[in-house]
């Protein structure tokens, strides 16, 4: 019996150590910017660098726009597939998997070849193209989050109940469907946010001042700052998860069955 309890804990400890040790090592290394003492100099250097704030703000803005547009694109699509065209689910799922099949470098070269004489003639055009590429990259994550949320609610009955009370499609989507997908939308948003903040290939090839290329540049030119940046990114990720949990509280309970 005792032996049975030891093994699970041992495997958990090994798994935990595999995850935590590199993190702790990175953190300790990031504190060694000053000779013979531990300190936050590397963090201070990162925060003092105007490129950090600029690239972070740029990527965050792109991420927020990509998230908003993904919601507007994916939610009505998944809703329509659930409500009217369940047979198309397979096709849509297949389409959302394309970012896994087509590598980012192929995608971005395709975009450049197609739009180099139009959108890429201006800085705004590059920004638009980057955002559009991130929307495509976020498809698999956003689609699956929304699809899971949609399966948890009775889309057909809620739609018909709203229709019988005089609701049009716009009202149904924004006042009935969206509020009931809060947790799913936040999950999809978080995943999209994480992808956009760390993405390098597309941003670099489109020559956009994003956070991914900045991290890459930093890691090739500094010693301690990249580790500090990794820890900052990690903290931001966990902060985003905490935010999702906080904003989504109560929603799962609302979707549970009757008492």
């Amino acid at each position: 019996m005792t032996q049975n309890r030891v093994w699970p804990w041992l495997w958990i400890a090994i798994g935990g150590a595999y995850f935590v040790i590199p993190l702790v090592a990175t953190f300790i290394f990031s504190l060694k910017a000053e000779r013979d003492t531990l300190g936050f100099l590397a963090y201070s250097n990162v925060f003092d660098d105007p490129n950090f704030l600029n690239s972070f703000t740029f990527s965050m803005m792109v991420a927020l726009v990509a998230i908003a547009l993904s919601w507007l694109l994916v939610v009505p699509t998944v809703y329509w597939v659930h409500y009217r065209m369940p047979r198309l689910r397979f096709v849509v799922e297949l389409m959302t998997l394309m970012p896994f099949v087509v590598p980012a470098v192929v995608l971005v070269f395709g975009l450049i070849r197609t739009y180099n004489t139009t959108l890429l003639n201006s800085r705004q055009g590059g920004w638009v193209l980057l955002t559009a590429a991130y929307i495509i990259l976020s498809f698999p994550y956003m689609y699956r989050s929304v699809d899971t949320g949609m399966r948890a609610i009775d889309v057909r009955t809620l739609t018909e109940a709203a229709q019988s009370m005089g609701a049009n499609w716009q009202t149904i989507i924004f006042r009935v469907i969206f509020p009931n997908l809060r947790v799913s939308l936040l999950n999809g948003a978080f995943l999209t946010f994480a992808i956009v903040m760390g993405e390098f290939t597309i941003a670099a090839l489109l020559a956009q001042p994003a956070f991914g290329p900045y991290m890459n540049l930093l890691s090739s030119s500094r010693i301690y700052e990249p580790s500090a940046l990794a820890i900052i990114s990690f903290a931001l990720t966990w902060g985003a998860i905490a935010l999702v949990q906080f904003l989504g509280r109560g929603n799962a309970q609302n979707l549970s069955g009757p008492r």
Binding site: I153, D154, E160, A161, Q163, A167, V176, N251, P258
Partner: protein, 393 residues
């Protein structure tokens, strides 16, 4: 002109026709139950009236106006669904107010209307609760209040009680009827539960395989079923095959040659103008059959049969006996307090009055026009013959 008219309504899904040429007139304030087994087309009719399905053919007229192609949002029909269809992110009061907000009613009027509706369904104190904080019965009451809040022209109820437990179901169906009468709202109620349909409706429409089998008051449907399907679907019914001959029915026509003159084989029934030789079924309810004791006087003008008790089924207030008579079985209901006298394997005599027997003609498939007389004459056996089909409409 009727308030709501279904005019030759038909609905097909590819090659499958779910609803065949249905016509029905519904008067204002009437409570109609669409009753039938699963897949008979009753919900499809309701959904066509609500606008969620487009009829393949036919028209729906409300107060004389054709609404067949009108979208659901413009039909002014309140609907309650089988599954709890409340919006999970809204409280009970917000759910009820949803339609009122869409109609842009002033806020004060919305509040007043929501309160009135909550009182109507007996949930005055529950307005601020979310659906997950309500029981199934309470959720359906809120759904009813929400459907009624917009003052719909027709109330559509799609098996609203099916998901509830038996006690709550009875309670809620009575409340639905009370509210319907109080508001005098035209109501269509889809159900597969005959007790529900008979107990609350002004008129019951019995459906089978996309057709209307019979429409009438609950009493008409129960006492004078016009088709074998209605007879078997509403309550328990014995169906005895036989042949109409000179004002009587000869039962067991399959093996007439040796027992032709036994008096039990001739049943007295209600008069009919069927021609002699017509194959019929005799309908008699289990509760209309009396088991005779040895000391019982033989009733006058009653059908008398002898049978072997083949099975007993305890149903609470009655015990249902299955009696083997010749080559068919008869169900007989005996009050539970008198059922001890009747044991398995016992041969008993039973009686039922001619007035309790209705007969329905049986139609034979056209490929075997000579079969009835052939069977009746004993010329061919039943297994050789085409099976007769009921003339069901």
């Amino acid at each position: 002109m009727s308030y709501l008219q279904l005019h030759h309504l038909q609905k097909a899904y590819g090659t499958v026709t779910a609803v065949h040429d249905i016509s029905l007139d519904i008067e204002p304030g009437e409570f109609i139950a669409l009753l039938g087994p699963s897949g008979c087309g009753k919900t499809t009719i309701l959904r066509m009236i609500a606008g969620f399905e487009k009829p393949t053919q036919g028209a729906i007229l409300l107060e004389g106006r054709d609404i067949t192609r009108l979208p659901p949002s413009r039909r002014d029909m309140g609907m309650v669904f089988q599954s709890y269809s409340l919006f999970p992110h809204m409280t009970a009061a917000q759910n009820i107010a949803f339609g009122l907000r869409l109609k842009k009613l002033p806020t004060a009027q919305q509040r007043s209307r929501v309160q009135t509706m909550l009182e109507l369904v007996g949930l005055e104190q529950m307005g601020d609760r979310f659906p997950h904080q309500l029981s199934g019965g309470q959720q359906q009451r809120v759904a009813l209040a929400r459907a009624l809040a917009i003052a719909p022209r027709v109330l559509l109820l799609d098996e609203p009680l099916s998901a509830l437990d038996a006690r709550v179901r009875v309670q809620l169906r009575n409340e639905i009827r009370r509210i319907q009468q109080q508001l005098n709202i035209t109501t269509l109620f889809v159900t597969h539960d005959q007790e529900e349909a008979l107990s609350v409706s002004d008129r019951v429409v019995v459906m089978s395989q996309g057709h209307i089998e019979q429409a009438g008051t609950p009493e008409e449907i129960y006492l004078t079923p016009s088709t074998p399907f209605t007879a078997s679907f509403i309550g328990a019914m014995n169906q005895i095959p036989g042949q109409w001959h000179q004002g009587r029915v000869r039962v067991q026509p399959k093996a007439p040659s040796t027992q032709d003159d036994r008096p039990e084989e001739w049943l007295q029934v209600q008069p009919t103008d069927l021609p002699d030789g017509t194959l019929v079924i005799v309908l008699v309810r289990p509760e209309s059959i009396q088991i005779l004791n040895e000391e019982s006087a033989q009733p006058l003008n009653a059908n008398l049969l002898s049978g072997l008790i083949a099975s007993r089924l305890f149903l609470g207030s009655v015990v249902r006996l299955s009696l083997l008579i010749g080559d068919f079985y008869l169900k007989v209901d005996v009050p539970t307090d008198r059922a001890d006298h009747h044991q398995l394997g016992q041969v008993v005599r039973l009686a039922f009055a001619a007035e309790q027997c209705r007969i329905l003609p049986v139609e034979v498939e056209p490929t075997a026009p000579d079969v009835p007389s052939a069977i009746a004459d004993g010329a061919i056996s039943d297994s050789d013959a085409k099976r007769p089909t009921y003339r069901d409409r």
